[in-house]
């Protein structure tokens, strides 16, 4: 029996206590791997920080597997949920996913977003990202750079998100 989908609505400005999980900025796995830190900022079409967004990431494990059910864990494996600070910044600690062009699936929720924005933060060199078959539609586009996190020191990556305008991040159809 088919059922009709419930529409999306904005998360609004008052979600913080409702959706805050303990330690959700540190991604848990059953496996060990290379620890990395991803930091960045979310900016709007005027270049102003988006200080009331929620970012969720979902990824493969260090061995390239789908994160399994987390028996005995304190939170779901492979998943981060963070709030942006007033200056639009966020920080996620995770393990480098497996695969030739590892990436985090990213969903952004905020006041003014009636449905989440979907994007990816690749933790790989640009030529590896351009070679990802999933991105064939934009393989030659200069915009693909917006999906590539920049190296910011040992095991540290920097990735800014521009919701609109100059340097607008590539967003995916859900």
């Amino acid at each position: 029996m088919a059922a009709q989908r419930t529409p999306s609505q904005t998360i609004g400005p008052f979600f913080h206590e409702g959706l805050r999980w303990k330690d959700a900025e540190k991604v848990a796995f059953a496996e060990t791997g290379q620890a990395i830190v991803l930091t960045g900022r979310v900016l709007d079409g005027a270049g102003e920080p988006v200080g009331d967004a929620m970012i969720e990431t979902w990824q493969l494990s260090p061995r390239g597997r789908a994160p399994a059910a987390a028996a005995g864990a304190s939170r779901p494996h492979g998943f981060a949920r963070v709030e942006t600070a007033k200056d639009g910044s966020f920080r996620i600690e995770t393990l480098l996913p497996g695969g030739p062009a590892p990436f985090l699936d990213v969903a952004i929720f905020a006041r003014g977003l009636l449905k989440p924005l979907r994007t990816r933060a690749y933790l790989a060199r640009e030529e590896m990202v351009r070679a990802d078959p999933a991105l064939a539609a934009i393989a030659a586009s200069p915009r693909i750079k917006t999906l590539v996190a920049l190296s910011a020191g040992d095991n540290a990556y920097r990735w800014d998100v521009r919701l609109q305008g100059d340097g607008e991040t590539v967003f995916f159809a859900a």
Binding site: A71, L113, E168, F172
Partner: protein, 230 residues
């Protein structure tokens, strides 16, 4: 492929100028298609013990009962094939009976209720049912346009069983005259889809002499990853 030209019949567009906050936050470039099922990896899986007993009763978070109309809110979480989404996380947050959120950014001049934080979570059971005990939230003014008031609503966050099912929505109440002037509600282009965000009065869901009952079923996108039922 291009969200700005193709109107999704269920979800709102990103850019909806009547809701002012969308104007600088909606992307202008066309959305890029990913291969089908790119996001259809099952999970995230909420571990046992993640939701504690009592987190679904928002009226038991203070020293005594909160002000307001006590209500039982129950419904089923289903996928697009009408199958229950089992043991899945349901998170809610809401204003108190006066229309004020327990949140530092809410500076609306309505009283806080020390006995109401307005936050709850639950896991669906094997038939997809969830159930909360709460109070009916108040309407509140906001600065979107002159005399703007949000209709009474409860925010819902659903993890589903795979990222393609992820949904954040708002539940409204039947007969609310503020629905007609609310740009968030009216951002959904299809009238029938808008009605699916309105709960129904279900007296038998309540508790005789104690709490009103409301029913709100939620339908998530289909997911290839959704495990088939026995």
């Amino acid at each position: 492929m291009n969200d700005m030209t193709r109107q999704d019949p269920v979800d709102p567009p990103y850019r909806y100028p009547e809701y002012r906050s969308t104007v600088l936050r909606a992307p202008r470039e066309p959305l890029v298609a990913l291969p089908p099922n790119a996001l259809d990896i099952p999970g995230p899986f909420v571990p046992k013990g993640f939701v504690r007993d009592g987190e679904s009763d928002l009226t038991a978070q203070g020293r005594s009962a909160p002000l307001g109309e006590k209500m039982i809110l129950a419904g089923r979480l289903l996928d697009a094939d009408g199958r229950p989404v089992r043991r899945s996380l349901v998170e809610i947050w809401q204003a108190n009976a006066s229309g004020r959120y327990h949140h530092p950014a809410d500076v609306h001049e309505a009283p806080l209720d020390p006995n109401f934080h307005g936050v709850g979570r639950a896991l669906t059971d094997d038939e997809g049912w969830y159930r909360f005990v709460t109070v009916k939230p108040g309407a509140y003014p906001w600065k979107n346009h002159p005399f703007a008031w949000r209709p009474q609503h409860i925010h819902f966050s659903l993890l589903g069983s795979a990222p393609v099912q992820r949904l954040v929505t708002q539940m409204y109440f039947p007969g609310d005259p503020l629905l007609a002037i609310d740009p968030v509600y009216n951002s959904v282009p299809d009238a029938a889809a808008r009605l699916r965000m309105i709960s129904t009065l279900a007296l038998e869901t309540g508790i005789e002499g104690i709490a009103l009952g409301y029913r709100f079923d939620i339908v998530l996108a289909g997911a290839k990853a959704t495990p088939l039922g026995p």
